[in-house]
Symmetry: C2
Subunit: 429 residues, 2 copies
């Protein structure tokens, strides 16, 4: 058996401690599977005094992540600090320069600086692995870069923020408005310190940008993701969608088109009986489509100590086994700078309109949709909502986002709406 693989771990939050626990609990199993012992040498975190759920006494404590990253007796630097800049980035760069391989769960950093880090690592002959950065315990990075290596990937999509899915699911099951469930989630500790990372769709978009890169061989481009969070999803829309056989999910979709790479993160309707529609609570799901494999669906816990630590460990074992791969599955220099494209792939859309209850209102709406070139698949008019308004739901046939934008801009001019129209894309899954 080879010499031990020596880990230096920076960041001892939930995931870091989860990794420590696995290394301690499964030492013999890891050695058998890796072909060598996996040992922790040094650790660091902001607060040494904090009470942690693991015995760290046999590891050297460093007050500085930098010291862990560059320590003589560290082979793999495990970065679990987080953040798209600062010490996380600096320490990873230092580790690479000091000849260490890197394992990280840092989606924000990779989404923003992934290309530069890949160039640096590959120039130095080091690897960076990041299975835990996307969808927690679900092995989606490996699936796309390795299992689908023989495929031209045509589309990647997923529900990749458990907190948002929890909120949307709970709104539906409890019949509660967004604000109430948001507050519940906050009290349950489900939200990031900056909740916009979750409900604003940013965290999920970091993950989507990374997935796009490995799926399409493009330079990771987080800024090109069209992002919309779940804040404007109303309980009304959740109920109406459900009536029509749909569920609303914060869905990330990336697909390569003739016009460029579309990357969007937005609340979408998906069929209630589809795998994505069935996904409740904090679970994540990623769907990958390739020209040979067809559609692959991967489902599991997207966060939490065990699942995320499991993903980090899988990367560590790969390094221990001697697996060497370019960071994004092909040499960084060969990743293309994809032209970002605004969403143009046609889809059906859901429209909710609150109309004045007077003759001719519906005709005016229908005229605008017709002028926009939008044809109607289904329409439902409900009983009067309040003194003066009537809710009308429209499910369109497939149409372009441009046509929908035109309709949404034009509809208020009819003078028959009592509030702004709501539109949601119905993603084909």
């Amino acid at each position: 058996m080879s010499s031990p693989l020596r880990l230096g771990i920076a960041g001892l939050g939930t995931v870091g401690i989860g990794v420590v626990k696995i290394v301690q609990k499964h030492a013999e199993m890891l050695a058998r599977r890796s072909g060598r012992e996996v040992a922790i040498t040094a650790v660091s975190a902001r607060d040494q005094m904090k009470n942690r759920d693991a015995d760290l006494s046999s590891y050297r404590w460093e007050t500085d992540a930098m010291a862990v990253a560059t320590a003589e007796d560290v082979d793999v630097y495990v970065e679990l600090i987080g953040g798209d800049n600062g010490i996380a980035k600096d320490s990873i760069e230092a580790a690479l320069r000091a000849g260490k391989d890197v394992v990280t769960a840092n989606k924000a950093l990779l989404a923003v600086h992934g290309q530069d880090l890949a160039v640096l690592a590959e120039g130095l002959g080091r690897v960076i692995r990041f299975e835990a950065a996307v969808a927690g315990g679900i092995p989606v990075i490996k699936a796309v870069t390795e299992s689908l290596a023989g495929n031209d990937v045509t589309r990647v999509m997923g529900v990749m923020n458990g907190t948002c899915n929890y909120i949307l699911t709970r709104m539906e099951s409890a019949g509660l408005p967004y604000e109430a469930v948001f507050e519940e989630a906050r009290q349950l500790g489900y939200l990031e310190a900056d909740p916009q990372l979750d409900v604003g769709g940013i965290d999920a978009s970091h993950k989507l940008a990374i997935l796009s890169s490995i799926a399409f061989g493009t330079q990771v481009d987080f800024d090109a993701v069209e992002i919309e969070g779940i804040e404007r999803v109303s309980i009304d829309d959740i109920r109406r969608a459900s009536d029509l056989g749909y569920r609303i999910k914060l869905l990330g979709v990336a697909q390569m088109t003739a016009r460029g790479l579309e990357q969007r993160m937005s609340p979408c309707l998906v069929p209630a009986d589809s795998p994505l529609g069935q996904l409740v609570g904090g679970t994540n799901m990623v769907v990958v489509e390739g020209d040979s494999v067809g559609q692959i669906v991967l489902r599991g816990a997207g966060a939490g100590e065990g699942p995320t630590a499991s993903a980090v460990m899988s990367d560590i074992v790969e390094v221990a086994r001697g697996v060497r791969m370019p960071v994004f599955g092909q040499p960084a220099a060969s990743l293309t700078a994809a032209k970002p494209a605004r969403t143009a792939v046609p889809a059906a859309y859901y429209l909710r309109l609150e109309l004045q209850d007077k003759p001719g209102a519906l005709a005016k709406i229908a005229t605008v949709l017709g002028d926009a070139g939008i044809s109607i698949d289904r329409m439902r008019q409900y009983g009067q909502h309040s003194d003066s308004s009537v809710p009308v739901l429209v499910v369109t046939h497939k149409t372009t986002p441009e046509a929908i934008d035109y309709a949404i801009e034009t509809l208020p001019g009819t003078g028959v709406l009592v509030s702004d129209p709501v539109e949601l894309r119905i993603e084909e899954v």
Copy 2:
């Protein structure tokens, strides 16, 4: 870039031709992802004259798989002949001895001779990869051996024979009896030449035995799988199960218990709204549970040219990338000979009984179940079925297979049954 990886492909059926097509169509992409060119040097199949859906003119044709396996100009022997013995086995052994790595889709061979082949390969420093052997395009071998390397796997289960799932799904949707749908499937070409491989559960059990080995670090032991096919699943049971909120699936389950390794393949009830319950048609699903990762669900096409060739290609790219791993994820010498255990893990059971329509019949049944220590969760008595019989469904609380066996043996002695009792396990998913 390194020298090309040269493939020799034996067996040019659907999968073999699928591999050829990918190599031809995606040459540049494969080179980028692999770090080297992937080239086909030699091919062989039974019938050179057969019209095939690919241009093979630039490859050397060998009349004998042996010649491909041992050719000087072959680095990887791709065995797609099939069969648990004969030329498939001989040629793989010859290839290993000639210093070739091996990629195969041959589940039968690995299920029966996997341990010996692993010992041989590892002794010679060669790798054997077999992603395509289990669940077609679903990357389950990689998920278990690599992504879950930090987990103590607690259970693996799956629907891994698309033909059986097609038959069961079609019986339900069309309301047709088994025999009629079996005949349909035969005419559609869905069945193996020996249909027992499919409907008898043997093919799926080959896959389960392989999964067990990599999940639990045990020597593959196909003979220890308790196998029951789908032949005795009646349209009556499918309907009744559906009434109760379940679907019937041919489900393989492997779990390590204190008594030994349980491996069973049998028609089971699963909740209709679970991922496994939702699976229709020829799609496959594998569920893996680990102590850290929790539950991972993988879904995709389990057969067919594209998906299976995709899996073969992923193995080829891994070899091209220089990935070297023990055949079953840890050295063959360290795989333990697991004690096979008959199913003892408790479960709820579904019982269908046809009773004589006379006073006291139900009491006699209830007495037998009580004597067996079985308590009843739900019971439904239906209207009279024919002149003399009344169908009664029982869903038990969790009980042991032994208790169920006792009840099934004892129930006929009550003299109130008009036909043999039917029992099906309700697997917790």
